[in-house]
């Protein structure tokens, strides 16, 4: 089956079985290996990508359901070497450790912040809201504290702490 979609602003046309998972199409056909396979059952969020403005688990999406969709993966977040504020913050405050969950968490957070801004404008989301937004992303390294810290620091856009 012919699938046409846009990934990170680039148009693609693939010829794959309709049940091929979006995750496999991204990783195997397009070489975008940012999205990871964790559990394969929609629990861990490591495979999160953004489809038509909504964060989804790409391991649970058959490609036939993203015909003509616009997709964003973690590779599409930064512009070249320039990281987003959120990515910077994750690297500075220990939000990324082993890194398997990080692409998914970055996308889920970014998607949440974009939607939040659309709905609530300048209001800053609280810890409870951030936690709820990231409920679908598991992390086994950080205990989440550093992740929430990174998100909160990014919201405040805090400058780099002094190193000894």
């Amino acid at each position: 089956m012919k699938i046409q979609f846009t990934v990170n602003k680039k148009k693609y046309s693939l010829d794959v079985s309709p049940m091929t998972r979006l995750l496999d199409a991204l990783r195997n056909n397009l070489g975008l290996t940012g999205a990871k396979e964790g559990c394969g059952e929609g629990e861990c969020g490591a495979c999160s990508v953004i489809v038509d403005g909504e964060v989804v688990n790409s391991c649970l999406i058959p490609v036939c359901q993203v015909q003509k969709s616009t997709i964003k993966t973690v590779e599409g977040l930064s512009s070249g070497e320039n990281l987003t504020v959120l990515q910077e913050s994750f690297t500075r405050f220990g939000g990324a450790q082993c890194g398997i969950c990080t692409p998914g968490i970055l996308l889920a957070t970014q998607n949440f912040l974009d939607l939040w801004k659309k709905k609530k404008g300048g209001k800053v989301p609280g810890e409870a809201e951030i936690r709820e937004a990231l409920a679908g992303n598991l992390c086994r390294c950080t205990g989440y504290t550093k992740i929430f810290l990174s998100v909160k620091k990014a919201l405040r856009n805090t400058p780099r702490p002094e190193r000894n």
Binding site: P18, E41, L60
Partner: protein, 305 residues
Amino acid sequence: MRGIASEIKILSPKNLKEALQFLSKENSSKLHWKVLAGATDLAVEFNAGKLKHHQLINIWPLRQELNKIKFSKTGVTIGAMATFTEIQNDLGINKYFPNLAAASRLVGGVQIQNRGTIGGNIANASPAGDSLPALLAYDALLNIQDSDGSRKIPITEFYRGYKDLNLFPRELIVSVEIEFKKHGTRHYFRKVGTRQAQAISKVVAAGTVQGKTSIQAVTFCLGSVGPTPLRCEKLEKYLTCPEVELPIRDRSVIDGARQTVTLDISPQDDIRSTKSYRLFASQGLVEDFLTSYFRPSRIFIKDRP
């Protein structure tokens, strides 16, 4: 063993009419084509190599047609392809049917809520489906269509046994209807899971109560404690009695209710929980329901992160 994508045929109809025509042709005698909605359940089966069906009819393209949430003078009609994100973001649902909004917030994580549909949750018929006790407690009606016409049935008549549905393979659930509850109705929803978020429930409860000084009408439904999500009819009968005064402070009534609910349910041991814990938790939920519903009208979701 992982499922193999090339072994699965998928047909994607363009609209409802086309889908129904196809189903009535192909599925008239037996289920040959399985309906694929948001894929949040079927893709999990596929990934685990447990998907029994090799022919799927993908109704995701029907979303535009079937995802509307429309209010009328008597209640709301929710399109079967409305996602849990759309349901929880709807102001009317939050205001008039808070149990359903609460349930929608607790289905998986954001990723699942963005893709999982209410019709899919109903048809998948998991005893642990979070939205199902909420729909049962609201006496929801299902609009079901095939290519010849439509019928409307109460959701209480939809589940006949474990994954045994009052639905022909040629039919599709197109929408869910819920009537407004009487003014002053109290709503209760509570999910007990392993983790605060993203856990399949061990027990899930939804209920409503009408009445000021005594209970006029009550519904109480539980999930994960039997082969289907179920209404606790014996408990409802026990509570609908002029002698039960509101607010409930009488210990003997609470103890009676705790006893009665055990007659309604048949919990089992499985990977998520045990029979005895589920029994214990169900009784706790009944007590929580009776002792907290008369606080200022709002929903109680203690498991929210």
